[in-house]
Subunit: 473 residues, 2 copies
């Protein structure tokens, strides 16, 4: 009985302790964006969206969760990273893992066979976060995709042009866009002696080559995945190849590869792609790279991935890749997986991985000591004397109604010094000061914060005067 009492006491203590031990944090792998981070984020989005719009894309949005079965069987080995919702009765739901599968579901559901759209939204992966390197569990993707039956490689080339435009525009330093084709990979696996049933899993192994050395990948292929050492070695020879048109020509002459139908198709299209990229003037940043595999199951043709190269000023002999910032490819079968009759809609698309780009922009901003404004306020409505709250409220209301961005301190009688300091801190360029005398004279004293200059402006001209003086902002 006493034990029971003690246990009860302990339980009560437990809940009390629980209350105090409440953890004040965001979930693992996620973060808040404060005003400063948002200002940087919006700059990057602006560049990306304006590129997508320049290429004539429409925009769509889909729910943050999908029916669990919508996501099932689309991501291969990565499926274990999907966030499921709790079964609270009703449908089984999962958070979206990318924007591509919801896009394919959207196309099939609405019987759309032809669209060019972008979609910018958060996706969710229960991955091991590495937040300093820009790897989160909740992160933005910026996707641009072209769906429809078109002549080969024209939309594919445009996707690469878009990556090139965005990375150049954001001035992230030097970069290279690696390109390959799933058909070339599959053909290569076939001529190397990989059994058909192992294509996808060997492809996953190859995909790790950007992170781990060949020896490790080889031992995974042979050890875990049961590939013959000879086949692995043959793959090892191919995957170290990278180059341009010359390499494509060379492989088209390759005695084994040229005999393989899918490889030949892939190589033919790769050649066409390089011709188009030459017309776009961007082959300088493109590398045909046989080690590029991409993790996801749904790719069927061209695949690509953009990586930033180490800055020259970091005194490294050879440029080293510091991580992928964009990727994509062709997935001609995905929409058909959703269509009741299996009707296919060919698609190709690109996804910009914005988190790493944010990190770089943030670091650069900090280094530059540029002061970033987090509001757009044009004018602070202030008073020099007491008892003028009502006059401030009247004036600020007039300004708001005229579309002027205006603030005031939420105090009855703020000190002028505090009001001016607020402008200095937040970067507000103008102060509209009301005082007894100004009210009598029908004017407002307009102070230019940067120069400390003050001019009396007639009340009826104030809006126009503020507009002129802030027109460059």
């Amino acid at each position: 009985k006493e034990v029971a009492k003690l246990l009860e006491m302990k339980a009560q203590l437990g809940t009390d302790e629980g209350k105090h031990k409440f953890v004040l944090k965001t979930p693992k792998g996620t973060r808040d964006f404060g005003p400063k981070e948002m200002a940087i984020r919006e700059r990057a989005f602006k560049a990306i969206i304006s590129c997508f719009k320049r290429h004539g894309a429409e925009v769509i949005d889909t729910p943050v969760f999908e029916l669990k079965e919508t996501l099932t069987g689309k991501y291969g080995e990565d499926s274990k990273l999907i966030y499921d919702l709790k079964d609270q009765g009703g449908e089984l739901l999962s958070l979206r893992y990318d924007l591509t599968v919801p896009f394919a579901r959207y196309l099939a559901m609405n019987k759309i066979t032809n669209i060019k759209r972008y979609h910018i939204a958060k996706v969710y992966r229960r991955d091991n976060p590495a937040m300093t390197r820009g790897r989160y569990r909740e992160f933005y993707q910026c996707d641009f995709d072209i769906a429809g039956q078109f002549d080969p490689m024209i939309p594919d080339a445009e996707c690469l042009k878009i990556v090139h435009e965005i990375l150049s525009d954001l001035q992230l330093g030097d970069f290279v866009i690696k390109v390959n084709d799933r058909r070339i990979l599959d053909g290569m696996f076939a001529v190397c002696g990989v059994p058909d049933s192992k294509f996808r899993t060997i492809c996953s192994s190859v995909d790790k080559l950007d992170k781990v050395p060949w020896e490790e990948v080889r031992s995974e292929m042979v050890g875990e995945k049961g590939l013959s050492p000879e086949a692995a070695d043959r793959i090892g020879e191919y995957v170290q190849l990278h180059g341009g048109l010359d390499l494509i020509e060379q492989l088209l002459q390759d005695p084994k590869l040229s005999q393989n139908k899918v490889a030949k198709e892939g190589l033919g299209d790769m050649k066409l792609l390089f011709e188009y990229l030459t017309l776009f003037g961007i082959t300088g940043k493109i590398s045909f790279d046989l080690s590029l595999a991409r993790g996801l199951d749904y790719y069927t043709g061209v695949i690509f991935e953009a990586v930033l190269l180490q800055q020259e000023n970091e005194h490294v002999e050879e440029p080293v890749s510091v991580g992928s910032v964009a990727g994509g490819g062709r997935y001609d079968g995905l929409v058909g997986m959703f269509d009741p009759k299996g009707r296919k809609v060919p698609c190709v698309g690109v996804s910009i991985g914005i988190e790493r780009i944010f990190s770089i922009l943030e670091q650069r901003l900090e280094a530059s000591e540029e002061k970033i404004r987090t509001t757009e306020t044009q004018v602070l409505v202030a008073s020099a004397q007491k008892k003028l709250l009502e006059e401030r409220l009247k004036l600020i209301s007039e300004l708001w109604d005229a579309g002027i961005k205006a603030e005031m301190l939420y105090k009855k009688n703020p000190k002028l010094l505090n009001q001016l300091q607020y402008c200095e801190e937040t970067g507000i360029p103008l102060v509209a000061i009301v005082g007894e005398q100004e009210l009598k004279d029908g004017v407002v004293k307009l102070r230019i914060v940067a120069t400390r200059e003050e001019v009396n402006v007639r009340r009826e001209s104030l809006v126009e005067e503020i507009r002129i003086r802030t027109s460059q902002c």
Copy 2:
């Protein structure tokens, strides 16, 4: 043995059937936004964001899910509507139910005592959806909040000004903003003889008055919630009151209410609020309404809700409310619930319920037959003859690099008619046509789709010419 075989066959059939029966839909209570809906959505967001920025707000963003315990104990009876994530190991998570609680968590976590911010994001409620009336399980909220210790009613008045500006700007028809104060409600409950412990639950009952008649609410109070009939009847008298400054003055003289300390405080502040709203010139749309209660637990002072009134042209005798489009209030205790030392940060804010606004804008657009463009493309790069794909690719690349929004058909040899039709359908105003002769002459034929006028433009002047001709777009 045969039974086992049959069962196995049935199981196989089952999975096969399952494959074919795959349901192609978005989760219950959610929807996709196609390009047209997005265009409307972005119009509404633009009006709302520009209002928030006009009032000097910064912007923040928080994760879509929070630790489950962050949301616990904040929403009263509505907590059952929270979406939980499945326990897949690690932290217990829930989707955010509103943007207010994450905001309070953000303030406490970062020890921010002073901020004016907006946040536009989706929130999640496992409510019974009524999608035709704009009620969804995933929906946007557009929140503006002012946190900090300030002189009374100045930030509160600004929140109401913001609602007034946004609803006027969006031209949604006539509206009224109902205002009340939790302190007035609590005082009223006290003088009516409601025991302290029943304040919140009786408040929930009063909150239903905009949907169900008084008799029903009364019987819930007396029947389900065990309130005495006399107390209920006393409440019944108060909650039918609504008006302006006159009603506030009348209640300040009310023999019972004026004896109650919190009610008196609330009424005093309400008077001050109306003075400020008079200076803002918006009292015409404000109604002090004792039946307004608001569902959420965390309000501590002023509360308000904006409802659209039935349009006059709908031939209804008296304007009837067709639903709430904005709401908010003061919550001075919420941040303190997250602070380890219970330090309070007074807050007041407003949330614009955008879904119903979308519905109205959508209906209006359909009625108006206005054709809404879903891309911003300025020019289509076209050709009149065959074998000009390369020339089209070269030209479009030049245009993109110069910042022109340009498209082309993804065909090797598209017919001119198809290219012109594409412009008609999508509203592209210009066509840049390359042909053998034009290439020889160093010009591009620019066609104005609306007038069918065609002019030859020198290639080096094309970008400038397109800019001039689309500068009004």
